[in-house]
């Protein structure tokens, strides 16, 4: 009333940019995060279009060409211990490595968020029961848990993905529970309850939009961990099996060549490092883009 007492001519309805639109704008202005995103996009696209991009067959090699150094003719990044083209194997390897880095985190994001949000919103005994159960898994170091689960389930890609998912559910559930618990006491949640809305409606309309963001940021930071763990499992022979290219596995099989061709042997490790640090930088950028009043 009085706030707008000064007569104004009819105006075009004002529609503000939504929160995610603003986060996107800020993220695009973040040079580091954008560089990381570009690196990830490049590697992902290369992996997806591996049949087109890769110069050679990643599985066929000639022993005569084994362990060529970086910069050799026909093999820009050299060859591995069986004479297969490293560049092609790295490109193809991105498929499995990215799959093993991203899939467990995505699955754990959905399952862990659901568990954490239920525990956080319900509170009381439900919370205690769920969170103490989660704590049991949390008590084991993640590497140990992943190795033990994969070992128990048996080697293989599916089992490795499953055990990594189980490893990531507890930390994500924890984060989801704490942000939900904090949100639950907000006045607007109370106001929603006071309007007669049921728990499901409140979670859908008021909780999800406010908690998924922070959980998502946390989850992206886990992708790097997942990639390293997945490589570890493959390295131990619990994940991907030869001759399929996967960075962790490649690191394992090339380890014998470390004295002969150290630079070639280090390439899969460099890829793991590059991708995981890119995910971390992107996640940091996302975090600061979301850290705004609103």
């Amino acid at each position: 009333m009085a706030d707008i007492a000064i007569a104004t001519p009819p105006v075009e309805p004002v529609r503000s940019a939504g929160y995610w639109q603003n986060v996107g704008k800020r993220l695009i202005r973040d040079k580091t995060a954008m560089a990381a995103a570009a690196v990830l996009a490049l590697i992902t696209l290369a992996a997806i279009f591996a049949p087109i991009v890769a110069p050679m067959d990643p599985l066929q090699g000639r022993l005569i060409n084994r362990l060529q150094p970086i910069g050799s003719e026909g093999h820009i990044l050299g060859t591995d211990e069986l004479g297969r083209d490293m560049l092609s194997r790295l490109i193809w390897g991105g498929r499995l490595s990215l799959l093993m880095g991203v899939t467990p985190v995505v699955l754990a994001f959905f399952i862990g968020s659901a568990i954490g949000i239920i525990a956080g919103y319900a509170g009381g005994w439900t919370n205690t029961l769920i969170m103490r159960t989660v704590d049991i898994f949390y008590a084991f170091p993640s590497v140990l848990l992943a190795v033990a689960l994969s070992g128990a389930l048996g080697a293989g890609l599916g089992n490795a993905l499953l055990s990594l998912t189980v490893v990531f559910i507890p930390p994500i559930a924890r984060v989801a529970e704490s942000v939900t618990t904090r949100l639950r006491s907000s006045d607007f949640i109370e106001a929603a309850r006071a309007s007669g809305a049921g728990a499901l409606t409140i979670v859908r309309v008021h909780v999800l939009g406010n908690v998924l963001g922070p959980i998502f940021v946390y989850a992206t930071s886990l992708i790097a961990v997942s990639m390293i763990l997945a490589s570890g499992l493959s390295f131990l022979g619990l994940g991907v099996r030869p001759p399929n290219p996967e960075w962790g596995l490649m690191l394992n099989t090339l380890r014998t060549a470390i004295y002969a061709q150290p630079w070639v042997a280090a390439l899969p490790g460099a890829m793991i490092f590059l991708v995981s640090i890119s995910f971390n930088l992107l996640s940091d950028g996302l975090r600061s883009a979301m850290e705004v009043r609103q």
Partner: protein, 338 residues
């Protein structure tokens, strides 16, 4: 006050918040937040609620809203027990709405203003189109141009504008009672006056009943028909606003009123009415809870709890000094004689 019909009746409301300790999470102590409150809110009135921190006024508000479960006590709305088949909780909820102190945290930051307001109506099954047009009407009614504000987000508005949005949201379900919990306390004085005027207009227009909780005694006097004074989870005194402000019966009400800063530079306050802080509601004093700070305390006050009794027209007080049967009066007379 149009009629003397109680729209909301509260009987023996009690809420303790446990303080857990030890490894097993056993309850070691209780915060006596609300401890046996009886109350009637009359149709069409504004009931002011005053008291200091820890007196239980905000807990009472949340209990009236059924946002927290009382440990004991019953709530009747228009004579019907809330939560009974006659009046299920969801049906009751749309009758009583609340405006909170913090205008920012009481709106969902991820939703636009119109989505925030329309949420309640959507919950109760109003079609989207109708909910939206009602939202725009309400925005206009609280003085915000829908064209300029409906599509914006809470953080883009000033505190006064946000509180108008909160009022519109509370009105969206067409409630009969609105509980205003320190609803104007965080606003600047010049904006506070605008919102108080708006509240008065809306009350007349929609025939609302207000429960107005505030620490600002001047504002409570101005807006309230009746005033309830609370101290450490109990009602100390309740009566017509003017009568209570003119002649407070409970010594605590008197002390509270004379603690108001003087607005006269030539007649400033010389002595504080009370010394020290209010006691902790975890271990409230025995007997009358005010006896530790009371200037007219008698022997009986630390032993027996006074009951809330009518002592003047529509004026109830819980104080032994006003109870001829309590033994306080006789004892004081004896002391005077000696």
């Amino acid at each position: 006050m149009s009629t003397e019909n109680a729209i909301l009746t509260v009987r023996n409301l009690r809420k303790y918040f446990p303080i857990k300790g030890g490894i097993l999470g056993k309850t070691i102590k209780n915060v006596h937040a609300v401890d046996g409150v009886d109350l009637e809110v009359f149709q069409g009135e504004t009931l002011g609620v005053v008291g200091e921190s820890g007196c239980g006024k905000s807990t009472t508000a949340r209990l009236l809203m059924q946002l927290i479960e009382p440990d004991e006590g019953a709530l009747y709305f228009e004579g019907k027990l809330v939560g009974s088949p006659e009046l299920p909780l969801k049906a009751f909820r749309r009758q009583v709405q609340m405006v909170f102190q913090d205008s920012y945290s009481s709106l969902n930051p991820r939703l636009t203003i119109e989505d925030n307001i329309a949420f309640g109506a959507r919950v109760h099954g109003t079609p989207a189109r109708e909910a939206l047009s009602r939202t725009h009407d309400l925005l206009t009614r609280v003085g915000l141009d829908p064209a300029r504000f409906a599509g914006r987000y809470p953080h883009e508005l000033s505190g006064g504008q946000r509180q108008r949005v909160n009022i519109a949201r509370a009105l969206a379900l067409r409630p009969k009672i609105i509980i205003l919990d320190e609803a104007v306390s965080a606003l600047d004085k010049s904006v506070e006056a605008q919102v108080l005027n708006l509240l008065a207009d809306l009350k007349a227009e929609f025939g609302l009943t207000y429960v107005f909780i505030s620490h600002d005694l001047n504002v409570v006097r101005f807006v309230s028909d009746r005033v309830m004074v609370m101290y450490l989870g109990k009602v100390a005194e309740i009566g017509d606003a003017e009568a209570l402000y003119a002649t407070p019966l409970h010594p605590y009400s008197g002390a509270l009123l004379s603690s108001m800063p003087s607005m006269d530079p030539d007649n400033r306050t010389m002595e504080p009415a009370l010394t020290g802080d209010p006691p902790n509601p975890i271990d409230p004093p025995t007997g009358c809870r005010f006896h530790t700070r009371c200037s007219v305390v008698g022997a009986v006050c630390s032993q027996k709890e006074p009951t809330l009794t009518q002592r003047a027209a529509k004026h109830l007080v819980a104080c032994h000094a006003h109870d001829p049967a309590s033994g306080y009066v006789a004892l004081k007379a004896k002391e005077a004689a000696e």
